[in-house]
Symmetry: C2
Subunit: 290 residues, 2 copies
Amino acid sequence: MNFQALLAEKACMVDQALDKALPGEETYPDVIHRAMRYSVFAGGKRLRPALALGAAESVGGRAEDALPAAVALEMVHTYSLIHDDLPAMDNDDLRRGRPTSHRVFGEAVAVLAGDALLTHAFEHLATCGAAPEVICRVIGELARAAGTDGMIGGQVVDTASPAAEAATVRYIHTHKTGALIIAAVRMGAVLGGGSPEDVAILTDYGNNLGLAFQIVDDILGEVGDPAKTGKPAGRDRTLAKATYPAVFGLEGSRREAARHLAAARAALAPFGERAAFLGALADFTGERDR
Amino acid sequence: MNFQALLAEKACMVDQALDKALPGEETYPDVIHRAMRYSVFAGGKRLRPALALGAAESVGGRAEDALPAAVALEMVHTYSLIHDDLPAMDNDDLRRGRPTSHRVFGEAVAVLAGDALLTHAFEHLATCGAAPEVICRVIGELARAAGTDGMIGGQVVDTASPAAEAATVRYIHTHKTGALIIAAVRMGAVLGGGSPEDVAILTDYGNNLGLAFQIVDDILGEVGDPAKTGKPAGRDRTLAKATYPAVFGLEGSRREAARHLAAARAALAPFGERAAFLGALADFTGERDR
């Protein structure tokens, strides 16, 4: 299989759905809609949407079934990046080589654009036309994963704990990034008609993939090519951020990532060929350089 | 009827439900949960929750039916206040006589506390146990009212348009405050089992009440007792904010408020005695001094 081509195809489906779901740039008040679109269409990898679509396929559904989750997940992911970049948080001027939202639109509009993407994610799910009990289920999954027992909890601890202790690093990673990755496969599985066992298998996959993804992110932050990662090498170290390499060393971190990726791949066995995309996505996570 | 006693009773029901719905102050990471509770329990009037409960009663349901909407509405209202007070927005140090969230917890935690309240509002509705089709309906209502065609849209224009033009003032008021007030009665009516006609009547009521509420707010901002309103008199004028008195004058604004309150009261006629609370709430809106 050509993984990159399949990923590009899924990203294209998701981009079309996002374009349809977001108000147009000329819709009043236009500045907020321009800001929302500026960050949503900033060249993201669409990892979380691809996971949702791949999960729906893995349980025997169609990728299209999971599109509402894909759109909502990318809106929530984008909102979190806009707010994380704010001067009061990470104070980043660049994101993927482009000026961050508050550098382009000002801080007030950046805060509101994040708020709006979070709000519109839930509106999109509530009105997507799937069965109401399925919608309630996926909205609950998304909100829990994005809340203080998930992504926001991870961000709070990341903001408040520059000291790198192993338990803190683990908490930040499982919550800040992991929760939404797990929610992506769970939401995709539910929308694809998966059984509770299917959802449990994909939770196991998502848990391991999420950890590996963040470890690789930390490694790239340390030794990656700034031209590809878009971040100065060693920036997290300079900020005394809690990272895997800071706690486990580079080689230890690479071993940890490989172990989690093997576990993610192994979890998919019951799905056979239907999970080929999610399996290839795990390989891609280990090999990525940006 | 003793309106103040009934309002206090409803506020008490809502406070208990909010206390149950919010994570405890000792739940890790505790700073975010302390920040969420600090602002939610800062002495708000619980106007939007009371409207939701009163709407459920007006259509023949029980106040309890609308509690999930009441909780979610107050979380969304509180998040909007936290973000509006941020240095990048209104830059307020005080809210109801107490230091604002970012003055107590810092700007990063204040941004995240607002994000978390918005997220938890949707989680609360999605898991409240009402019929799934009713839940999808009220989540859609709340998200639309809180989004860029509602509250956020109003805030964007308010932030970007210091010049007071009549059309702009009307847009800001119907969107920034009005949308959530209308959503409150609509959500309460749906949860209380109301018919489409009931929902239309309450939309008319909410539309007029919301406008009157904001006009009275503007009047109090101009001539109110700062000890009661918690804002220096004339502050909006100093900031060259778009307000009703700035456009219509004080007497013209008072006439406009009275006209909208009479229309709100008149809309309730088909409900008879069941809408006594909502009728009294309209009177209270005209008489309030804080």
